[in-house]
Structure formats: structure tokens, C-alpha cells
Symmetry: C2
Subunit: 158 residues, 2 copies
């Protein structure tokens, strides 16, 4: 797996000539450092591509999960996305003010604040999902197909 032949097949993300000749020292052995670099690139590209629908990565994730789980509770949404409750409340408030989501009390099964997309929310989500797919294609191109596949295999389900 870690043979020279395998390593040589991977396309360098940054050509050597474009990198400053600075010693990264211990950072070369810190996965978190490179994960952070990937994540910064992802956010910058994602935010740029989704600027037309004015959704942050977190807002997009919230809309996707509510869209696929109508009636979801705030606590289940917070647990699923790993978002702190206070931050999620602010996020949902913003989406409600734009009339993209709504919180309905569900008297039948005792759930409070069951979350739903509005009609506008569903329409915007359809556009946003198409832009997110373009972002994903750009990330795959940036990494190259082999790095992309490996990183996804390693990160999936985290």
C-alpha cells in the first residue's frame, strides 16, 4: 500500500515549484494540520459556489437533514450534525426568518419543535444540492480521483 510505486501515482496537490521553501517541521507528521488545510479549501469553495443561494455549509447541512427527515426534533438534528444546541437555535432562527424552515408543535407524539421545510425551503434546497454537487466535483478534481477515493474511504462515517 505504501510502496514508492503507489506514492508515485498520486498527483501532487501543490506542484513543488509553487510551495515556499519553508520547513514545516513537526507539522509534516500531524494529520490534523493537513485535514485543516483541506477543510479550509472546502469551506472557501463551498461558500463561493453557494453564494447565489446564500447558505453556509452548516445551513446547507441543516436543510438537507430536515428535508430528508420531516418532523425531526431539534435535539436529534443537533446530535446528527454534531452542532451545539445554542448554535443550532441561532441557525434555525435565521432559516425561519427567511421562511425556509418552520418549527411545528406535534401534539400527537409529544415532540416539540418538529422541524419541516417550507415550500420555499424545498425549492432552495434543490438549487443548493445542485451547487453542492458541483463543489464535490471540484474537490475531486483538486485532490485527484485516487486521493479523493482514499480520503472518502477513510473519513466516511466519522
Amino acid at each position: 500500500m505504501r510502496s514508492g510505486k503507489r506514492a508515485a501515482k498520486l498527483t501532487a496537490v501543490h506542484p513543488a515549484e509553487s510551495r515556499p521553501a519553508v520547513d514545516l517541521d513537526d507539522l509534516n507528521n500531524r494529520l490534523g494540520y493537513f485535514v485543516r488545510r483541506v477543510q479550509v479549501w472546502v469551506f472557501q469553495d463551498f461558500i463561493r459556489r453557494l453564494s447565489g443561494v446564500d447558505l453556509s455549509p452548516a445551513q446547507f447541512s441543516v436543510l438537507v437533514v430536515i428535508g430528508a427527515n420531516a418532523g425531526l426534533s431539534q435535539s436529534a438534528l443537533a446530535a446528527t450534525l454534531g452542532i451545539e444546541r445554542a448554535r443550532l437555535v441561532r441557525l434555525l432562527h435565521g432559516l425561519e426568518q427567511r421562511a425556509l424552515t418552520q418549527r411545528l408543535d406535534d401534539a400527537d407524539d409529544g415532540r416539540r419543535h418538529a422541524l419541516h421545510l417550507t415550500r420555499d425551503g424545498r425549492k432552495l434546497l434543490t438549487r443548493a444540492k445542485a451547487l453542492a454537487a458541483e463543489h464535490e466535483a471540484a474537490l475531486k478534481e483538486k485532490l485527484g480521483p485516487e486521493r479523493y477515493r482514499m480520503m472518502f474511504e477513510a473519513a466516511r462515517g466519522f
Copy 2:
């Protein structure tokens, strides 16, 4: 590479029983979503482990790179770490106030604001590097060795 046999060897990061039964929909096919989840875990663990030396991940990276490249310019440091200039100036100001780094004018070769660690900076960095190594071991344990190796091979050099 993507055979069932290979996939079965990977240890699940979250056992199925601990995950809420919520449909992630498109997020399941978005690498950026999982990279973000890894990065959030990394920051939380890193910040906790380095709380004794009161260094953020960005401050740690800055100290490491200055430590390995005495006399580095601010612009080279910003380019190396992918930090915006304005943010780097704030970061360096905080480190200088704690007397961990200093900016010296270097008249000989025309470089301005050549960056150096102070003696206290070098001492703190030694402690911080040891804590960062413990964080790295925790990340490897969290991912499992095979996922860790794959993710590093994919992300290295980004």
C-alpha cells in the same frame, strides 16, 4: 481497493448503535461534510490537550514554523500556513505580548519583521510539541491505524 473484504477490515468510527437513525441524504456523498467532522474532532481534542500551554492550533503552527525557520518573514509564514495577513498580524501580536516570539528588523538582507522565537517561546514549544504528539496518537486511535494511514496518504501535502 474498494472490495468488500477491504471495507470490512476498517473499524467503524461510530458503532452503528450509537448513531441516531437519521437519514443524512446527500451528505453521505459529500467528502467535505466528513472532513469537517474530522476537523471539528481534531480541534476539540487539540485545544483540550494544549490548554495547559494555552495555544490554539493556529498559534501552535505559527510557533512550529518560526522555530524551524528562524528569521522567516511574515509574508512567507502567511503563505506557508495559508493564513490571511490580517489574521497573522493579530496572532503574532498575541504571541509577542506573551514574549514567545519577536520581530526583528534585518537590515543586512532587507527583510523586515524577521520572526524569531524567544527563549520562553522555545521552551513552551518543546512542551507543546509533546502534547501535540499525544493528540496525534489519540487521532490515530480514534480513526484506527488503517483509516489514519489512508487519510494521511490522501491529505499529505495539501
